[in-house]
């Protein structure tokens, strides 16, 4: 009799735990939608005021006059992000090929923890490094060769700092993709007399191209949303930049920098929330697409 009662208790407990956990899981899935809705709701006032295209293409940013043009900020973000990817992509690709195809396990054992450390360094510390090392280097050594004057707080500084920040993400996804390639493909190519490099060029890179592209998109969206580090080194002038030595004002920096004053000016907070919404939607889409590509690759290669 007692056992039956005990088993009933166990079943009730099981039922309860199972449903609480299911509920939590389902609620967690609505989280992204919740973020989107609440940011949209907060940015409705400015969308009522002006059309979305007008806002995105307007280049005058005068909150006090009620002019909110996002174009300089979007261009700032694009310049910095593209520069960061241009710098880090070749580095990451070469290093990832070396680490997965050539390097002795001993070297991997030394380099992998270092990449982990690089991934763990907080954005604000990258920003401090940018101010201590990159900005003075640009204003004193590099800029005088190209332009008359630059403070060093520029797109170039932002691009360099961001490039190093996205290296760990890019390189670790690259290595995962190379490791997922079936070894038979390489052996077939090598047995036909191809050198290691020819095999990499004609087999490994070609076969893993979709994955590499997905990894780059992932890195782009990481660079796109990085806030504090670029805020510290980019100079924050709300004009469309014309050269690498010009200051820029990326979108995330705009949100972070103006939070203090946004409550006192009408529509200002709506404008900032709209930029957060823009970041959210773009990065969500980029991430979802590249993760789906990566999942498909993993499934196709795993036998």
């Amino acid at each position: 009799m007692n056992t039956i009662r005990y088993n009933k208790y166990r079943q009730a407990k099981e039922f309860l735990i199972r449903h609480i956990m299911l509920l939590l899981t389902l609620v967690s899935l609505t989280f992204a939608i919740l973020i989107g809705i609440s940011l949209y709701y907060k940015s409705v006032p400015i969308l009522d005021h002006q059309s979305i295209w007008g806002l995105l293409s307007g280049s005058s940013w005068r909150p006090l006059k009620g002019e909110f043009g996002f174009f300089p900020f979007i261009m700032g973000t694009l310049w910095v992000t593209i520069l960061a990817v241009i710098i880090s992509l070749p580095l990451c690709l070469l290093a990832a090929i070396y680490l997965s195809e050539y390097a002795h396990p001993y070297i991997k054992k030394i380099v992998f923890p270092m990449i982990d450390v690089l991934a763990g360094i907080p954005p604000v510390v990258y920003g401090v490094w940018g101010i201590l090392a990159v900005v003075p280097f640009i204003s004193e050594k590099l800029a005088p060769h190209f332009v008359e004057f630059s403070t060093g707080y520029s797109i170039l500084a932002g691009g360099i700092v961001l490039a190093i920040m996205i290296i760990p993400l890019m390189i670790s996804v690259f290595i995962e993709i190379f490791d997922a390639l079936p070894g038979g493909l390489r052996e077939a190519s090598l047995s036909l007399g191809a050198t290691n490099w020819q095999t990499i060029k004609k087999v490994v890179l070609r076969k893993s191209f979709p994955g590499l592209a997905a990894a780059v998109v992932l890195a782009i969206s990481r660079a796109f949303g990085e806030t504090i580090a670029v805020l510290m080194v980019c100079g924050n002038v709300s004009e469309v930049p014309k050269s690498l030595f010009d200051p820029a004002y990326p979108l995330p920096a705009l949100i972070a920098n103006n939070y203090g004053e946004m409550m006192s000016i009408p529509l200002y907070d709506a404008a900032l929330m709209l930029s957060a919404l823009l970041l959210f939607v773009i990065i969500l889409a980029f991430n979802a697409i590249s993760r789906l590509v990566l999942i498909r690759i993993e499934r196709n290669f795993a036998l």
């Binding site: 166990r10 940011l39 070396y98 510390v125 990258y126 929330m273 991430n287």
Partner: protein, 284 residues
């Protein structure tokens, strides 16, 4: 004969380039650490880690960073506990209750992969809208909630990875002996405990160093908060705010804070590696 030579040369050139690229990455890590240490070490003192600033953080020449150190600690401890409270049930559910190829499990994994990529400034802005909606001011509570949102995807992704590696036979054996699914939670957690510690260390590192999420939500103060509703200082914001001060002593405090934060993150990273190695040794 000639194209064999060309192909050998090409091989050598690219191998050289690869080694240079790998070295460049390693060197950049050292450059960062050296720059932070060289600027931060001369201004470090016992006062920095044992005293709170006196006379306002923009003006104060005396005092240290104790407010930011303790504040960061409060935020991290709070958000890790809260984060585990939400993420453990989710990870256990998709691994224990759902079949291996379940659509729901795959969708959950995908959605946390995507949430992992959302920048912290967006979480900060979202946290801020929630605060306005609920009528909360910048406070320790709001900071904890926002950082929790930021680290839940990290916790879930990394705990999921270790629980997935638990042999299926272990689960099957327990179930065939008549255990209910909720009764095998405990042994499974014990099996993956070192993996969970690694996940926690990773999220502590991310949570303690993130500035954009606490910028809107936690505020900043010179004192150590005594309740959840008071604003709280954090190390990343201590760096960010004090660096923009024109007073040299205040800037020094920012560089000291950067050194403290870097050392904390280095220790966490080494500890995480130590624990994950321990885990792979005990793997069945």
């Amino acid at each position: 004969m000639r194209h064999i030579r060309i192909k050998r040369i090409e091989e050598k050139i690219f191998k050289g380039l690869m080694i240079v690229a790998t070295l460049a990455i390693v060197v950049s890590l050292f450059l960062i650490i050296v720059a932070i240490v060289r600027r931060g070490l001369p201004v470090m003192s016992w006062d920095m880690i044992s005293k709170i600033p006196t006379g306002g953080f923009y003006l104060g020449k005396e005092g240290g960073l104790l407010n930011a150190i303790v504040g960061s600690l409060y935020i991290v401890v709070g958000s890790i506990s809260l984060g585990l409270f939400f993420s453990l049930p989710i990870v256990l559910y998709i691994n224990l209750y759902l079949p291996e190829k379940s659509r729901l499990a795959q969708f959950t994994r995908l959605s946390f992969d995507v949430l992992f990529g959302i920048p912290s400034i967006v979480y900060g802005a979202f946290g801020f809208t929630i605060m306005v909606y609920l009528g909360i001011r910048t406070s320790l509570l709001a900071g904890i909630l926002t950082v929790t949102m930021l680290i839940i995807p990290i916790l879930i992704r990394s705990i999921d990875e270790v629980i997935r590696r638990v042999p299926k036979e272990m689960k099957d054996a327990a179930l065939s002996l008549g255990a209910t699914r909720s009764e095998i939670i405990k042994p499974i957690l014990r099996q993956v405990a070192p993996g969970i510690v690694t996940a926690i260390l990773l999220s502590v590192g991310r949570g303690i160093g993130d500035a954009a999420s606490v910028l809107f939500t936690a505020g900043y103060t010179d004192s150590i908060p005594t309740s959840l509703s008071q604003p709280v200082a954090t190390l990343p914001l201590a760096i960010f705010f004090q660096l923009s001060s024109p007073i040299a002593e205040v800037q020094d405090r920012a560089y000291a804070a950067a050194l403290i934060l870097t050392v904390i993150v280095l220790i966490l990273s080494i500890a995480a590696r130590f624990y994950s190695r321990k885990f792979s040794k005990n793997k069945i």
